[in-house]
């Protein structure tokens, strides 16, 4: 079955997609509606372990929706309902009786706008850990230090751990949020345009950090910036009008895409 989108014949979106290495998260044939309006059409996508997968596409194409689906953040929107399957190893994320707490603990998320809690930096990072475990003071200190170091912000905040998280600059706040997320050591980190509210220097720092994080975590990143996707990601998926149009290794997508539509988008002729 082929469809015609944007004046372009697109291959069947349910076609088997492959990545090298172990698959961490598998999305199969996901349809999603906001009320009457369908936002995702039969999306299937494998996420490779310890890699960076980027989702690109014009505004409103459903890439954020797809990302928020991966740890069921869409459940917060009451009119949203879906059909399809997302699985992570043996656990089925889309199951009705899925344990959302466990899922979200294992799949962390970093948001578009930095959103540190109105607590001290120390408590911000410790919050997630204290939710799930009862650490002693020393254990907590160690975890917090480690997370902040991994998020490359330790040097900047080590002398002001008890200041409010909101008192940091935008880029620092975003890195604090990343530290907060990796403190609970998830398997996958979802990033929803993490740099769109930041200046170029902060963006560079975050991008560097993402490449660093790849070693321990699986990262899925939604981005508007094609160059960012090209810089940080191993795999890239191009989404258009709620469909995953093309997916493949980043080099291939950016140098020699299969479809004219992808090419036009990447070269900036629309979108």
């Amino acid at each position: 079955m082929s469809e015609k989108i944007g004046g372009e014949v697109v291959p069947d979106s349910t076609k088997k997609l492959d990545v090298n290495g172990e698959i961490d998260l598998m999305i199969e044939d996901l349809d999603l509606w906001y009320g009457d309006k369908q936002a995702l059409y039969g999306v299937s996508l494998p996420i490779a372990k310890n890699s960076v997968t980027a989702l690109i596409g014009p505004s409103g194409c459903g890439k954020s929706t797809l990302l928020r689906m991966m740890n069921r953040m869409n459940d917060l929107i009451s009119i949203c309902h879906y059909d399809g399957k997302i699985s992570m190893g043996d656990t089925e994320i889309t199951a009705k009786d899925a344990d959302l707490v466990e899922i979200r603990k294992n799949i962390g998320m970093v948001f578009q706008r930095p959103n540190p809690f109105p607590k001290s930096i120390y408590d911000n990072v410790g919050y997630g850990v204290k939710l799930h475990t009862k650490p002693t003071r020393e254990e907590l200190d160690a975890i917090i230090e480690k997370s902040l170091k991994r998020a490359a912000i330790w040097d900047e905040v080590s002398d002001r751990m008890h200041d409010l998280g909101t008192s940091l600059s935008g880029g620092q706040q975003q890195r604090l949020c990343i530290a907060r997320t990796i403190a609970v050591e998830p398997d996958i980190i979802l990033m929803d345009e993490p740099c769109s509210a930041l200046d170029p220097i902060a963006t560079a720092a975050i991008e560097e950090l993402i490449l660093e994080l790849k070693k321990d975590f699986t990262v899925v990143i939604v981005t508007h910036s094609m160059s960012q996707a090209a810089r940080v990601s191993d795999y890239t998926g191009f989404m258009y009008l709620g469909r995953l149009v093309e997916f493949g290794e980043t080099d291939k997508i950016f140098s020699d895409p299969d479809l004219e539509l992808t090419k036009r988008y990447i070269t900036g002729r629309f979108g």
Binding site: V101, K134, V184
Partner: protein, 585 residues
């Protein structure tokens, strides 16, 4: 193995339990608000239905002091065929004079028809009749020409509605079945038909207009080609409603509120009819458009879009509906509200007419005083004021004045408006002083509401207007004010409904407990009678009475007041929702 897994785990069971317990208790807290309202309304509504008691006759025994004695029954004990439906009501008159002691029984047949009365005359020969017919709720008298007191006692029939203080207490003898303070069981001239019909039609049409239903739409589509005719019919009905109730009365006193009220009803009724016509016309127009587009008329969501200015019409018609609801008490004949003044001795014969008119006058004066000034102040603070010290001061004063206890405003009114001498204006405890005090109290609330509304007008509106070269006043008048108007009106209505329920300032200003005439609004200026009262004051004084019967009256007045306030608040809510929706889109 992750680091975090090495730590001691928090129990998931406990976390889930907290979640469940927490959300349940929060839900309970949330629903307690509803519960309170339910209990409140029930506790207040309940005393307005007084149940008469049937049973033994013991307590009621009075004597006729000098010459006459008043009787009143509130239920028929005779059916259409003239047969007794229960025990006969028998009253025994006894007296001792030089001829020895006398005892005469009179049987009273209470009949359904009103206004039938037969008085009883007592002289030295005895009582002139042994059985009489009286209409229910009709007073009749026993006249005595004797020089000695006559004892009167009911020896048979349903008991008077006596409470634990031994009601009826003084000089009056009311036997009652079910007393409904607010509702009359069988009231003859209840509704003014045309207005009520208009109101009902509007209600139905609003429902159809809000949620168009397939069957109704297919019904309506049959008359689609006559839409202009339909509209015409409704306009004629409007004209008819207006003309029928128009009586140019010769009572030329322009301050008699009563002279305007019938016209007001009719005007509202006419407006309702006209609105009905417009709604129907727009609905039919929408159906026609759908047909022209070759669309199914059953697609109600399409239909909604195809009706031009649907939201606006809905808002206006809802507001009209609620406004008419406020005036329904005037359409329906409720003696409690529109006929009866306070009766000193008989609680159940009392009403809040004086208080009702007092409230209307106080509100009108307060509106005239406060609205122009406060809206002006709001505009100044939002649109004109530069951020300097005076502005800051005024802003701080407004914010804090809104939180000043109402009784302090009352003291302000007492010292400035009521008192004579010094800085006092010497208006006395009059409607005018009360209205001015209430106006002053409403001002900060209206200013804050107005500012809020003006602030929510997007900056782009102002900038685009300045961009084409408008002066500041033109920008305000032509662009900002129209968008902010519903918000300002909402604030104003809410402020008015708040001061409508305020009793504290008027207690201080000097509202009286009891007056037996309509208050005169300008009495303070032309030397009339100053006394006035308002509904909350009436409730206050009635509640403070020891006799339970008065509490029923207070309950009835409370219900009336709550109904008025809910109607007013509903208008404000409708306005606000419309305003919000428009700002969003």
């Amino acid at each position: 193995m992750k680091d975090i897994d090495k730590l001691q785990k928090r129990s998931r069971k406990l976390r889930n339990l907290t979640e469940r317990v927490g959300s349940t208790s929060l839900a309970i807290a949330g629903l307690i608000g509803l519960l309170f309202l339910g209990v409140l309304i029930w506790q207040i509504a309940e005393p307005t239905f007084i149940k008469g008691e049937q049973g033994e006759i013991t307590a009621v025994s009075e004597w006729i002091p000098e010459s006459d004695y008043r009787f009143e029954w509130d239920f028929p004990n005779i059916d259409e065929n003239g047969n007794l439906t229960g025990d006969p009501v028998v009253i025994r008159f006894e007296w001792d004079d030089e001829n020895g002691s006398h005892s005469h029984d009179v049987q009273i047949n209470v009949i359904q028809t009103r206004q039938i009365k037969t008085d009883i005359y007592i002289d030295s020969n005895g009582v002139d009749q042994t059985e009489i017919d009286v209409g229910r709720k009709t007073k009749f008298y026993a006249y005595s020409t004797l020089s000695v007191p006559v004892t009167v006692e009911q020896i048979s029939g349903p008991v008077p509605n006596a409470d634990d203080t031994g009601y009826p207490s003084v000089n009056t003898f009311v036997i009652s079945g079910d007393v409904h303070v607010l509702w009359d069981d069988e009231n003859e001239q209840v509704f003014q038909t045309l207005e009520l019909l208009a109101w009902t039609t509007l209600l139905i049409l609003i429902i159809v207009f809000t949620w168009p239903h397939e069957t109704v739409i297919s019904l309506l589509s049959k008359i689609e080609s006559y839409k202009k005719l339909v509209r015409g019919v409704f306009y004629i009905l409007a004209a008819l409603t207006l003309s029928l109730s128009f009586e140019f009365s010769d009572k030329a006193d322009i301050l008699e509120l009563e002279n305007y009220l019938p016209t007001l009803d009719a005007a509202l009724g006419a407006l309702c009819w006209a609105m009905c016509g417009t709604i129907l016309y727009r609905l039919l127009e929408g159906i026609e458009r759908l047909k022209n587009l070759k669309r199914e008329i059953h697609e109600t969501s399409r239909l909604k879009h195809s009706i031009s200015n649907r939201d606006g019409i809905l808002m206006w018609s809802r507001m009209l509906l609620f406004t008419s609801t406020i005036f329904i008490p005037l359409l329906i004949d409720i003696p409690f509200l529109t006929e009866r003044y306070q009766d000193i001795f008989v609680p159940y014969a009392s009403g809040i007419r004086a208080a009702f008119y007092g409230t209307i006058w106080v509100m009108l004066i307060a509106m005239v005083v406060s609205i122009p000034i406060s809206v002006g102040a709001a505009i100044y603070l939002e649109e004109y004021a530069k951020p300097n010290r005076i502005t800051k001061l005024i802003q701080a004063l407004v914010t804090n004045l809104a939180g000043v206890p109402s009784i302090v405003f009352g003291m302000f009114g007492l010292a400035i408006f009521v008192k004579q001498g010094g800085i006092g204006w010497g208006l006395g405890p009059s409607v005018l002083a009360a209205g001015l005090t209430m106006g002053v109290m409403a001002m900060p609330i209206i200013v804050l509401g107005g500012q809020e509304a003006l602030r929510s007008v997007p900056r782009s509106v102002r900038e685009s207007a300045y961009g084409i070269g408008c002066t500041r006043w033109q920008v305000t008048k032509d662009h900002v004010l129209p968008s902010a108007m519903p918000g300002i009106m909402t604030g104003t209505i809410l402020a008015m409904s708040r001061i409508m329920g305020e009793a504290a300032p008027l207690v201080v200003v000097g509202a009286t407990a009891m007056i037996l005439f309509d208050p005169e609004p300008l009495a303070a200026l032309n030397g009339g009678n100053l006394n006035f009262t308002v509904i909350p004051i009436q409730i206050y004084f009635w509640t403070a009475e020891p006799d339970h019967a008065w509490h029923s009256m207070a309950a009835a007045a409370s219900i009336t007041l709550i109904c008025l306030l809910i109607a007013m608040n509903s208008i404000a809510i409708v306005l606000r929702q419309h305003f919000r929706k428009r700002l969003k889109s």
